[in-house]
């Protein structure tokens, strides 16, 4: 049984990373993109209702979205607690983050250690603490939400990280928030959570990202391309390569999450949040190369039906058109993505993969199957 522990986390400083954002290493960086440093200054966040500081609970917060979101919220002056099992360090200095900023953040962020699947503990610990707002960044099933709502009867807002994966596949893209959803999708837990929130009468907001990218991404989206580019390997893309997808930078997503906080216009609303433009599979391969300063890649198209990859994924995206309109967030919240695709990929590369860090080791086994067969055919 997990104990109620609220700690003020003080992390020992990790290995010193270059603090200045204008500093970068690597000999190869001659392209226009590499020389352009994007400083993330979310514009919209500053006019969020100038109301009192909130006592905020983030379910999760130590892995990807929450890492950026928690920093923004702390900077806004809110009291932020992360609810995690403590498996990952509560704070970690971000690449490019100034020591002073990191020290300030770590001194303020709070931790509530527990397992969110232990519903009794969730209920008791949350009601003991009391929170004004909950950001549910890692919730997957509706049943996980009930104890939180039960524990916090005066909750001002429940902000949920859902997914554009809930949309029913369409012949008429893009997905708008009013489009049909698919009760049988892989993300049905998210849908059920949204429905539960609606039925409970709580003030909820749901954010549906498409594919998220950026430094610290644990889903191998851009990383998948970077591994191949670094290895000088061709990029195998299924079918025509003109399938259209959409990437949204994690920092823009974090900004959107801040902009819905205490915002009447976000009450009981769903918002798609992703990049302003979409991109083809082939285009994305080229954009990754451009962002990272690699030459234009060789792209090999293949028919996935001719291969048996077993359980392995040969390509990180759904083999179909999949994109959502972010117009509602732009017009209702005044949010807009700060990063365009190549800039955002450069940000990810410069702060993560380009520094030698990544989450998943390169695995070219499916590539080799594809390339092996292609060689045989010619």
């Amino acid at each position: 049984m997990a104990n109620l522990v609220v700690l003020q986390q003080k992390q020992p400083s990790f290995s010193l990373l270059p603090a200045s954002l204008s500093d970068f290493n690597g000999a190869r960086l001659h392209t226009q993109i590499q020389l352009k440093r994007k400083v993330w200054k979310p514009k919209g966040a500053l006019h969020v209702s100038a109301s009192s500081t909130k006592k905020i609970l983030i379910m999760g917060g130590t892995r990807f979205i929450g890492v950026f979101l928690s920093r923004l919220l702390v900077k806004e002056g809110h009291q932020v607690t992360l609810f995690t099992r403590g498996k990952t360090p509560i704070t970690k200095q971000l690449p490019g983050e100034a020591d002073k900023d990191y020290a300030d953040f770590s001194s303020k962020i709070l931790h509530l250690k527990g397992d969110r699947k232990d519903f009794e503990f969730v209920k008791s610990s949350l009601s003991a603490e009391g929170f004004d707002v909950v950001y549910d960044i890692n919730g997957r099933e509706a049943v996980e939400v009930e104890p939180i709502l039960d524990a916090l009867p005066n909750l001002e807002q429940y902000i949920y990280c859902s997914s554009a994966g809930v949309y029913l596949k369409t012949d008429l893209p893009p997905h708008f928030e009013t489009d049909a959803v698919d009760p049988k999708s892989r993300h049905k837990g998210k849908l059920e959570t949204e429905s539960l929130l609606e039925s409970k009468g709580v003030n909820w907001t749901s954010v549906r990202p498409v594919y998220i990218y950026g430094p610290l991404n644990y889903n191998p989206v851009e990383e998948w391309f970077f591994h191949r580019l670094k290895a000088g390997r061709p990029i195998p893309v299924p079918n025509s390569g003109i399938q259209i997808t959409q990437l949204g930078h994690v920092k823009d997503l974090a900004t959107a999450f801040v902009q819905v906080l205490g915002n009447e216009k976000a009450s009981k609303q769903v918002f798609n949040i992703s990049g302003d433009k979409y991109v083809t599979f082939d285009g994305l391969a080229k954009a990754c190369a451009k962002a990272a300063g690699f030459p234009e890649p060789e792209i090999i198209h293949y028919n996935p039906k001719e291969f048996d990859f077993g359980k392995k994924k040969a390509f990180p995206f759904r083999d179909q058109h999949f994109f959502a309109s972010v117009e509602k967030a732009k017009s209702v919240l005044g949010w807009k993505p700060e990063f365009d695709l190549v800039e955002g990929l450069a940000d990810s590369y410069n702060l993560d993969f380009g520094r030698g860090t990544f989450r998943k080791e390169a695995d070219f086994s499916t590539d080799d199957l594809i390339l092996g067969k292609s060689l045989v055919l010619t």
Binding site: L172, S240, K277, G283, S325, E327
Partner: protein, 402 residues
């Protein structure tokens, strides 16, 4: 990435309040940070608080209710210079009828002669509808508009004819010298440079050598109040050029539908009513629309395979889609297929953002209507030659039922 250069400084133009009727052009334009659309609305209208509330549906209602009042109060004299053939011809027809329905005065000047063979085709053979709605139809040469309209003057001119400066400059110059206040131009989304990052958004790079680009530039130099519209494809009764019919022709005859490439190419097919509603909004909100480019399209994309499927659904019949590589077959895809063999997809972001325009195209429903008309006029029984199709199918060894 720049999209709408002027979006942060545009104010939705205010319709007259109950007690005073300022003319639209006298309302000062406020410079606003881009997020505060709602405060802009409240400060300009200064009316009941109900207009300040969200969700967006009530805001939409408020806007459309107010714009009806605006059109009744501000009757405009509009001249449409209309092409005499091609896909865009139908735009002028719907625009004229919509303006007339809103109480404006309309003259439509069709290029050429009233008695020409071209006038026997739709929408021209339905111009009596414009006349019975109170509009005026004339014919003439756009190089001498003054003569063609008999010296009449107008508040607004829409050029829905020229594709280059040679064709449009005389119209622009005449409009300027005769005191026209607002100049509108039907350009084309075809001028956007191809991109790996769709959609085409207003502000994106265009092909510098495209004829329409020269026109757009000249209009901006000469006129103070102007707007440019870039359409893609449209459907609707009265169309002059085949669009969905190409699919119906094959589907009702149980012929395969040959589609170049993967069939995944995206395009944008709008009901022409979406285009005329956008144009009408620009006439009724000239300040808001001014100095803007608008993608004149619906807000949904559809793949080439998707249109074929939707046409088949509308026809209540199965469809047999066959993909081919035009180069391998040795044919020109432009002659073989009515849509571009590449992603060609623009979104109407400026219209939604600046004019409060909303799309109503509903392809599944619209295509049902189109199919009903297709059958009603007996086109399903018409004997058609499918030479190019046969060549494609022959090279792919696809059997065709006789």
């Amino acid at each position: 990435m720049a999209t709408l250069a002027s979006s942060s400084s545009v104010l939705l133009s205010s319709p007259p309040s109950k007690f005073s009727q300022p003319s639209l052009s006298s309302i000062p334009r406020l410079s606003l940070p881009s997020f505060s659309h709602s405060t802009a609305l409240s400060s300009s209208l200064s009316i009941s608080p109900s207009f300040l509330t969200y969700p967006t549906s009530s805001k939409r209602f408020a806007l459309s209710a107010l714009s009806v009042k605006a059109s009744a109060a501000e009757k405009k004299k509009v001249l449409i210079v209309n092409t005499n053939s091609g896909g865009h011809a139908v735009i002028g027809f719907y625009f004229a009828k919509e303006l007339l329905g809103s109480g404006h005065e309309v003259t439509i000047l069709t290029v050429g002669e009233e008695g020409s063979d071209k006038m026997k085709k739709p929408p021209f053979n339905r111009f009596s509808e414009i006349v019975s709605a109170g509009g005026r139809t004339v014919w003439g040469n756009p190089a001498d508009v003054g003569k063609a309209v008999g010296g009449a003057t107008f508040d607004v001119v829409l050029d829905n004819n020229g594709k280059d400066l040679d064709a449009v400059r005389p119209v622009i110059d005449w409009a300027k010298s005769s005191g026209v206040k607002q100049f509108l131009f039907i350009s084309s989304a075809g001028i956007y440079k191809a991109t790996d990052e769709p959609p085409h958004v207003e502000g994106d790079a265009v092909k510098a050598d495209a004829g329409h680009v020269g026109v757009e530039k000249y209009i901006a130099e000469v006129f103070g109040v102007w707007a440019v519209f870039r359409p893609q494809y449209m459907i609707g009764s009265g169309n002059n050029k085949d669009c969905e019919e190409w699919f119906f022709d094959r589907i009702v005859r149980d012929r395969p539908v040959p589609i170049p490439g993967s069939g995944m190419q995206l395009t944008n097919i709008s009901h022409v009513k979406d285009l005329s509603s956008m144009l009408t909004l620009a006439v009724e909100k000239p300040e808001a629309a001014s100095r803007n480019i608008f993608n004149c399209v619906s807000d949904r994309a559809v793949t080439l395979d998707g249109i074929a499927k939707l046409c088949a659904q509308a026809a209540g019949r199965p469809v047999n889609i066959v993909h081919y590589d035009p180069k391998a077959v040795g044919i020109d895809a432009k002659k073989a297929f009515p849509f571009r063999n590449m992603h060609f997809y623009a979104e109407p972001r400026a219209a939604k953002d600046i004019l409060g325009w909303r799309g109503k195209t509903n392809l599944p429903e619209d295509l049902k209507e189109r199919f009903d008309e297709y059958v009603r006029i007996g086109r399903d029984k018409k004997p058609i030659q499918f030479e190019i199709d046969d060549k494609i199918l022959e090279s792919l060894k696809v059997p065709v039922a006789v």
